[in-house]
């Protein structure tokens, strides 16, 4: 298994170089280094001299990808792309173009993101699986039909509507929770409660339908019939045997997103004033801060690759028949 992990990690290197290159090209197709400098220096009284100085200080005075005037290998290394990319592979994110330490910012902002994402995932799993089990148990009945209709209705509503309606109902009308804001530590629960509930409800439709399909497929198998014939209570059968055997497709969807929980949710964080990582990248794009954009895209790619690897590893835990080679 170790060899498999090492091989997968080595595969990740060219993928990360490619992602980095695409991010770089896309960013600089839209923004020239001069644009970036002007954006950071402000709109008023900016002189060409100040733009040039800013570029030199922030390493944007080199050619983008290929330095025609440099000798040998420096034609590739004396470029903005190389200078800005190589340190990422050592997870040295450096300073943002505005001068703040990106690593420090990420380490501060990932906790509020996790404070929403983790409870939403765990509570969501509990509620969505239970809901799907219920539908699977009453398959073909009016209860199942009602559940499926409810799921389709929930899926048809925009995520933004849940947020605005939730804030309107629970904060503005009922005065039960703060409409937005955040406090670190245990006090965070008051601010996290509503986003988590909204997160769980808004995903109930799609997740419930997906899990129901998985469970229905599993319920039709021979071992379920055998277990029933032996008199196993239905609830135990569902939550012990069916759930365990349905874990492979469930894990495929869950483990891959686990590392990405750090990255946060843009809309949720924005509306609830949660100071997480979700809005960090968008803010950076708006402010044309390439240092943050490349760091966040790189981090997202690394976490996604890690998620895929963890998914593969988790298969071996839930299904001993699977061997990684």
């Amino acid at each position: 298994m170790l060899a498999y992990i090492i091989r997968r990690l080595l595969y990740a290197i060219p993928i990360l170089v490619g992602v980095n290159l695409i991010t770089f090209v896309l960013f600089f197709v839209v923004n020239s280094p001069d644009d970036v400098a002007r954006m950071h220096l402000g709109m008023k009284h900016v002189t060409p001299d100040a733009v040039e100085k800013w570029k030199v200080e922030h390493g944007y005075d080199q050619p983008l990808l290929y330095n025609r005037d440099a000798p040998g290998v420096e034609q590739l290394t004396d470029t903005i792309f190389f200078e800005k990319s190589v340190k990422l592979f050592a997870f040295e994110f450096g300073s943002s173009d505005a001068g703040r330490n990106i690593g420090e910012d990420i380490s501060q902002r990932m906790w509020p993101s996790l404070a929403i994402a983790l409870p939403t995932l765990l509570l969501g799993l509990l509620v969505h699986i239970s809901f799907a089990m219920l539908l699977a148990f009453f398959r073909g009945s009016y209860l199942d039909l009602s559940g499926v209709i409810l799921s389709v209705v929930l899926m048809s509503i925009s995520g933004l509507f849940y947020i605005i309606a939730g804030q309107f109902l629970f904060s503005k009308v009922l005065h039960l929770v703060p409409i937005s804001g955040y406090e670190p530590g245990w006090q965070a629960w008051r601010f996290v409660l509503l986003p988590v509930v909204i997160g769980v409800i808004s995903a109930l439709g799609s997740s419930g339908r997906w899990y129901r399909t998985i469970f229905l497929e599993e319920i039709g198998r021979d071992y379920v019939r055998t277990a029933r014939a032996k008199g196993l209570p239905e609830l135990k059968l569902l939550f012990t045997h069916v759930l365990k055997n349905a874990m492979v497709p469930i894990l495929t969807g869950i483990v891959v997103v686990l590392p990405l929980l750090f990255m946060g949710s843009l809309i949720m964080e924005s509306f609830f004033g949660i100071p997480g990582l979700g809005s960090y990248t968008i803010e950076a794009i708006q402010k044309q801060d390439f240092a943050i954009v490349r760091a966040m895209v790189f981090l997202g790619s690394v976490l996604y690759i890690l998620g895929l690897l963890l998914t593969d590893l988790s298969y071996t835990l839930v299904d001993p028949r699977i061997r990684l080679s």
Partner: protein
């Protein structure tokens, strides 16, 4: 038949328990404050002002910060020598840390003193000698902390000393010292620092003697230091490099030497760019390891003002607290007529600041911000377009007032015309709309008439603005109201005020220009013009359609070349645009700061100035050079009148509108008079926290019964499932028994 306890029964018990736990935690955590309060319970009743910010400030270093969302903070912390009088109008300067407003004296090119009334051409230098008040002290800060032997505790830190440090609050010891004139000189030198990129360096280098060369000197010194590797990052000791244009005379006096005559320099002395920075702060923050922890002067200001930044978490909250070392300042006892009746003089003579603490929370969206204001969790609010109809009603006569709902809550409205202008500019280098030919001028006049800014203000600004008659907004010297201030090329005077000329008149001008019915008489082809614009989305699309419609009134085909802001700026710098929309917000309340926008030496093309229309008129330039150095008075007014006449005739801009600022505030918020020039208005504000707390409780009583309803609905949904499950299990049991 006995049915054993099922999983559902156990789940029911668990949920009941969980419900009780949640209610208990809620009650305990919220104390006796409303459940939806976003603030900790211990802040109830306290003298704290609550406000919000939508984007984190980029810079808090006084040499760099320029944006309005940065000056909100730096203006309260740093104290330049001058400030704007809070209540007096028109805006006027008064001393802040200075003992008096400095009156310059003049020197000729041989550095010989000239009389005060010397002709401008003879003046080579203006000398500003500034005296500051003794006894002013800095806020407590670790940069000043000294041990018993008088040595600085935190000026020689090693990497290991910073292991447990993540913010400024992690330094246990603080100190202070008296403000001295050298601190002001130090900051002027910092404007030229090669790593700070002060936005006003380019401008000030033209005025402060030696500043341009000083920047070169510092750059070379920084390079030398970096190469020698003596310190990393290279730390420049600015005191080792004298600057001719800024020098210390003694402990409380310093001198600024300005090239030529530049009376507007005094306005700059009221901005944080000219606030004092202690050398200790630079030494402290430039130590290795500080920047990696985001502990920089750019993020943790050190000032003498009424407030100091105690929490700087730009991702969540920024907190200003009363500076315990602040000397105190009396609330003004003079204002303009009507201030006493409005209650703005009730605090006259009382010591400021009134508020102990100000909490700014990050709010990215307008809806939650607005709702929190209505719940009493923010003390002041702007009016976004989303909430405009809920807050403001416009009467049939155009009179603006609060809706009954707002009035019932005791909310008040304050309005003020901003010192800004939005306009449509014509690139004077363009062969069709530009130039000084009669044909082009008539075309510009026709378009100026067709662009119905009254309608624009009504549709796109919710009535928040007044149509502009010239570049000068109300409140700026040179502005004329009434008939005398009307643009006769676009408006006619009526007993009800200026009335935009008819579209027929615009079409007549267009025909005279050689485009009857929107067709070029020479070629017979339809006239097509190009508007270079930026932005996208439904709002922008609606605006662009409206502009097309205005041109359509004259049968002119308007092509909108929409692009991103960078490309747009690039076009402007290259002078390739034809028509564009632009705006300007004044740096200071002087007509020079508006009329320079059309001075040819400030052209955007090639000169990278602020004259975006690339307008050039020798007569206008001559008058501008004459006007800019004059004191306000009838002579200056006469020249401004002539300049504005020239602009109206040449029409390089279709004068757009001056926006009107709307601010809503609660009953418990006092001294709300808007001052759009001053940066340090927080110290004048006062609140009544008891009234606020009472209103918050009144407005935010938790309504719990719908929760019971939701629970009942859930139970009603679960019951069929439980019944169905039991029936299913019973059937199985019976089948097994058979």
């Amino acid at each position: 038949m006995h049915v054993p306890n099922t999983g559902f029964d156990r789940l029911g018990g668990f949920l009941r328990g969980l419900g009780w736990i949640l209610v208990s935690i809620t009650v305990t955590a919220c104390g006796d404050q409303p459940w939806n309060s976003p603030y900790p319970p211990d802040q109830a009743d306290r003298n704290i002002l609550y406000s919000s910010f939508s984007a984190r400030p980029k810079h808090l270093d006084p040499a760099q910060s320029y944006s309005a969302n940065e000056i909100v903070f730096t203006g309260q912390i740093y104290e330049p020598p001058l400030q704007y009088a809070f209540l007096k109008r028109p805006y006027q300067l008064e001393p802040l840390t200075a003992t008096q407003i400095p009156e310059p004296y003049y020197l000729d090119s041989n550095r010989q003193r000239l009389p005060d009334d010397a002709p401008t051409d003879a003046i080579a230098f203006s000398v500003y000698d500034i005296e500051i008040r003794p006894g002013i002290r800095y806020q407590p800060h670790p940069a000043f902390a000294k041990d018993d032997q008088g040595a600085f505790i935190y000026h020689h830190l090693k990497a290991t000393d910073l292991q447990d440090v993540s913010s400024l609050a992690d330094f246990p010891r603080t100190g202070t010292r008296e403000l001295v004139a050298a601190d002001y000189v130090y900051e002027i030198k910092r404007l030229a620092h090669p790593h700070l990129h002060s936005p006003i360096f380019g401008l000030m280098a033209d005025y402060i003697v030696g500043l341009k060369d000083y920047a070169v000197t510092l750059s070379k010194a920084a390079e030398k230091l970096a190469k020698s590797g003596e310190s990393s990052p290279p730390v420049l000791k600015l005191d080792d490099f004298p600057l001719e244009g800024a020098s210390v005379l003694d402990r409380y006096h310093y001198r600024v030497l300005v090239r030529g005559k530049y009376p507007q320099f005094r306005y700059w002395l009221a901005m944080p760019f000219f606030a004092p920075v202690p050398w200790e702060a630079d030494v402290f923050y430039q130590q290795p390891g500080m920047k990696e922890r985001n502990i920089t002067l750019d993020w943790y200001p050190v000032g003498t003002g009424p407030y100091m930044l105690t929490v700087n978490d730009p991702n969540r909250q920024m907190v200003l607290e009363r500076n315990p070392n602040f000397r105190g300042e009396a609330y003004p006892d003079q204002g303009e007529p009507g201030d006493a009746a409005a209650g703005f003089l009730k605090d006259a003579g009382r010591q400021m600041p009134f508020i102990d603490k100000v909490v700014y929370s990050l709010e990215k969206e307008a809806i939650p911000t607005w709702n929190k204001f209505l719940q009493g969790y923010y003390d002041v609010s702007g009016v976004s377009s989303d909430s405009f109809d809920q807050a403001i009603q416009i009467g049939s006569g155009g009179d603006i007032s609060l809706t009954p709902g707002m009035q019932a809550k005791g909310i008040h409205l304050s309005t003020a015309i901003s010192s800004s202008e939005y306009y449509m500019g014509f690139n004077m280098l363009d062969p069709v709309v530009g130039g000084q030919s009669e044909r082009a001028r008539l075309l510009r006049h026709a378009i100026s008439i067709a662009m119905d800014y009254e309608e624009y203000i009504s549709i796109f600004a919710n009535g928040r603005g007044i149509p502009a008659q010239s570049p000068l907004p109300p409140g700026i010297f040179g502005y004329r109201a009434g008939k005398a201030g009307m643009n006769p090329y676009v408006y006619d005077w009526t007993p009800r005020g200026p009335k935009r000329k008819s579209v027929e008149e615009a079409r007549r001008l267009l025909a005279k220009a050689g485009y009857p019915g929107g067709r070029d008489v020479k070629t017979g082809k339809p006239l097509t013009l190009y508007l270079d614009a930026t932005g996208n989305g439904p709002d922008v699309s609606a605006l662009q359609n409206w502009i097309r419609k205005q041109f359509g009134k004259l049968d002119i085909q308007l092509q909108i070349r929409s692009t991103d802001y960078n490309r747009f700026q690039d076009k402007m710098l290259k002078g390739t645009e034809q028509i564009f929309q632009w705006g300007w917000n004044a740096d200071y309340p002087d007509p020079e700061n508006f009329l320079f926008l059309l001075y040819s030496k400030n052209a955007k093309f090639k000169k990278n100035g602020e004259n975006a229309a690339n307008y050039s008129n020798p007569e206008y330039d001559r008058l501008f050079e004459q006007m800019k150095n004059m004191a306000n008075g009838p002579q200056r007014q006469a020249i401004i009148d002539r300049m504005i006449d020239i602009l109206r005739r040449d029409a390089p801009w279709a004068f757009g509108y001056h926006p009107k600022q709307f601010v809503l505030y609660h009953d418990w918020y006092f001294n709300a008079k808007p001052n759009l020039m001053a940066n340090n208005v927080l110290k004048y504000k006062r609140i009544d926290p008891q009234l606020r707390e009472q209103k918050r409780h009144e407005w935010n009583k938790p309504i719990v019964w719908p929760l019971g309803l939701i629970a009942l609905l859930v139970v009603l949904m679960v019951i069929p499932a439980v019944v169905g499950y039991r029936r299913h299990e019973n059937r199985r049991t019976l089948a097994e028994q058979r």
